[in-house]
Symmetry: C2
Subunit: 195 residues, 2 copies
Amino acid sequence: MTGKRDYHHGNLKEALIDAGIEILDEVGWDALSLRACASRAGVSHAAPAHHFGNVKGLQTALAAVGFTRFRETLSEFQEAAEPDPKIRLQAAGAGYVTFALRHPGLFKLMFGGADLDYENEVYREASQSAFAQLGEIVAPFLAPESGPEEDYRLRVTIWSAVHGYTHLLLAGKLWEMSVSDDGLSHLPDLTKLVS
Amino acid sequence: MTGKRDYHHGNLKEALIDAGIEILDEVGWDALSLRACASRAGVSHAAPAHHFGNVKGLQTALAAVGFTRFRETLSEFQEAAEPDPKIRLQAAGAGYVTFALRHPGLFKLMFGGADLDYENEVYREASQSAFAQLGEIVAPFLAPESGPEEDYRLRVTIWSAVHGYTHLLLAGKLWEMSVSDDGLSHLPDLTKLVS
DNA sequence: GATCCTAACTTGACACCGTCAAGAAACAAG
DNA sequence: CTTGTTTCTTGACGGTGTCAAGTTAGGATC
């Protein structure tokens, strides 16, 4: 497939993204760099800049991949649950936490405050798709007469609770967690927030 | 006071911490480095390592200062509010958000996932003091017969909601926020979580 | 098929970073 | 005054992002 050697790799951009995801998953957030991706992909140290411009571009591209997979995880958890809206809401929260624990490096890149290129088209599409998934989950709890302001407020409330819990969990701030825990035992009861 | 020149600065450690706080507030998280602190304090590039060991030590010391000021901000907002527990709870949440918006660099250092030296004594004391402040705020809502498990769960729930909202706000994910906003208009109703 | 053009990638350099080792200066104690 | 210790400097190393210049491959055009 990609038998090209030396110059003209063929699909270097994808190879670099794969390398970046691997580094995030196998080594960690700190190890992600343009040069490390280049090295893992077997190209020179300046090759990535040609495809991503700068390190922000690389991080943005990786975050976009992350948001796509993130949305998929939310969908899976939601659809695997019984078709009761409240159960599905809590299941989506569990999916949120699970994704973060499986891919902490990627999660940190997506939400950790690295200044990404928010104007990037691929990134915008992927992240907005994930947020749309959230809206779908919350929709059943909106009163019929409620407007977009209430919709937005409810989404922010739910999202804040899940995200805050996940972030504190990853940051090691919930240190009193029981041993051999999947991280879900203290996930707040989201159904309280939608009534 | 500190008129010493050349060798033996006198109180270099405090000067370096001040320099670090300045950098975080005036320039940003990205600009914080051992060498930048040294430069701003007017000493050689390797001087900070002598006091903090490595960059993790510097970050931990700065985070400790941050937690102390964080606790003070929570106290101020709480005590400025009317003595109703629910009003004070929401006021503390507003204090949480306000601190983060005033000192985003420091907040990110404290909660942004930088791997700090959690064994550091000064850090432990400062951070646990802040968490104790949270416990004080939540205490009035605990049922008399509730045990430590319920206490912990309630604290995690409240903290998750406020922290998640703050983090999403800082990460720029709440982009639909109204203009000229103090960031508080969509803070979730915390009282819903304590009933 | 030869030529030109352009995109893809390499090479080399620069400044910045953290970290270590060695040395010099100032203070403290004898 | 001498000795020892702490504090800070100097210099070096490998790592990083980024830029400029050069090299190569592939496609288009003639």
